[in-house]
Amino acid sequence: MNWIGLSTIFRREVKRTMRVPTQTLIAPTISSALFIFIFGTVIGSRISEFAGVPYISFVFPGVLLMTVINAAYASASSALYFMRFSRSIEEMLITPFSYFEMLLGLVGSAVVRTVLVAGLTLLVGVLFGAVRLVDPLGFFFYITAISAIFAMLGIIVALWAESFEQLQVLNTFIITPLTYLGGIFYSVTFLPPLAATITHLNPFFYFANAVRYSMIGYSEANLWLGFVVISGLTLGLAILVISLFRRGWKIRG
């Protein structure tokens, strides 16, 4: 394993993140703070406890998840697309990185940035009194795995995209709708039976459920099924990205 190479990718990405802190760190934190204030404080003050916790604590895992999804996707997709655009991806192609190391470097650096953003969001949550953590290990696993899933989706889109506009296609038409419809701000028990059944087919529902369970200990789905969905997607996407790198799709002439 080229550990020095991997740490160099992380170092380079941290520098890239710090070049535009407003876009990468401050904007998502402000956005999260607004969501927590509106859903948790303004609306939440009118709602009594739900699932044994204040509504703000029920809704906070969803806000955090949304932040994590957006940060991971944006970080990986913009980093790789910029590397393709500037052709600096060739630096990685001519150096001794295996395809697995390329995956680890690109996904790992996106996860690091996402964890930074998640840390800031948690801090905001603490200030609002919204944070509970019943299963820290599970929480860390799910946040990392979900970050990796969306970083890998970002990589696939960055490989496919031919313009900056196309980078947003998946986010606009798939990620955002499925996130909002995945029960991040509400309980699936609020829905009519058909809508609740459909929601159970949405993988984002399992993401939200897993993070919420690890934070407040409340679950609306089979946790093992959620674990299988999240682990399966992580593994499946990793295999797909490695095979795209091996084929050199859109990066190796």
């Binding site: 160099t8 380079r12 890239r16 500037s86 600096s88 630096e91 001519i94 050199g248 190796r252 002439g253």
Partner: protein, 248 residues
């Protein structure tokens, strides 16, 4: 260990597929001995850069085999890439990185430990007279400084085979002469160098073996002396061969 630094056997590179397929390299075979200063000439679009891309890993060969010091660039790509340094024709860099960062990151990608990397980067910055520009972003450098930074980046892991694709494009005469001197010294120290350039006096001055690529094929190959037979310059022989190729 082999006495041949680079061996290319029947290399083919096709871009696209079906009706859009374009054969950029069409059965090139080359054998470059260790210690050579090898000039690769050809008109624009002849297949020089594609061949270089296949050697370095930027492009995947469609068929054929490339061995660097006996190491297969596809099957043993990690070992092969440690042997090569590339200064490409186009600036394939993060333009927001500084000169120092470009070399440092590249050294890191090659797995060079921090202390050794810092020492090597300092050496190269000094050698290419980039001290005043070490903290300057690549996008703010002049054309000549960019070329020198690219050369420094290519040399950071002290490769045995150095590939220079138009390394002096945009470099002023004085700096070009200085670079030539440095490249000569590098070659004399045992490095094998492959050079492509549109400045044929550069090829004539530096190279001891020359090949001409046209339409993806090698159309002429020989020593510099063979190219300069009958009192001709390399440029005159080159023009003679490429014009003949055009009329065929």
């Amino acid at each position: 260990m082999s006495e041949v630094m680079l061996e290319i056997k029947d290399l083919v590179k096709v871009y696209g597929s079906g009706r859009n397929a374009s054969r950029a390299v069409d059965g090139i075979s080359l054998s470059i001995p260790k210690g050579s200063f090898y000039g690769l000439l050809g008109p624009n679009g002849a297949g020089k850069s594609t061949t270089i891309h296949c050697i370095t890993g930027i492009a995947k060969p469609t068929s054929g085999q490339i061995l660097i010091d006996g190491v297969d660039v596809v099957k043993e790509y990690k070992a092969a890439r440690r042997l090569v340094g590339l200064s490409p024709q186009e600036f394939n860099v993060d333009i927001f990185s500084t000169t120092e960062q470009l070399m440092d990151f590249m050294g890191g990608y090659y797995g060079i430990p921090k202390a050794k990397r810092e020492q090597r980067v300092n050496e190269l910055i000094k050698r290419f007279d980039l001290e005043k520009h070490r903290k300057v972003k690549f996008q703010r450098l002049s054309g000549g400084l960019k070329r020198r930074a690219m050369l420094g980046r290519a040399l950071v892991h002290t490769p045995d085979l150095l590939i220079l694709d138009e390394p002096t494009a945009g470099v002023d005469v004085e700096q070009r002469r200085d670079l030539w001197q440095y490249l000569k010294e590098l070659n004399e120290s045992g490095k094998t160098i492959i050079l492509t350039s549109h400045y044929l006096e550069e090829i004539q001055y530096l190279c001891n073996e020359i090949a001409i690529i046209n339409n993806g094929k090698i159309v002429a190959e020989g020593t510099k002396e063979e190219f300069m037979r009958d009192g001709k310059s390399v440029e005159e022989t080159y023009l003679e061969i490429t014009r003949k190729e055009k009329t065929q």
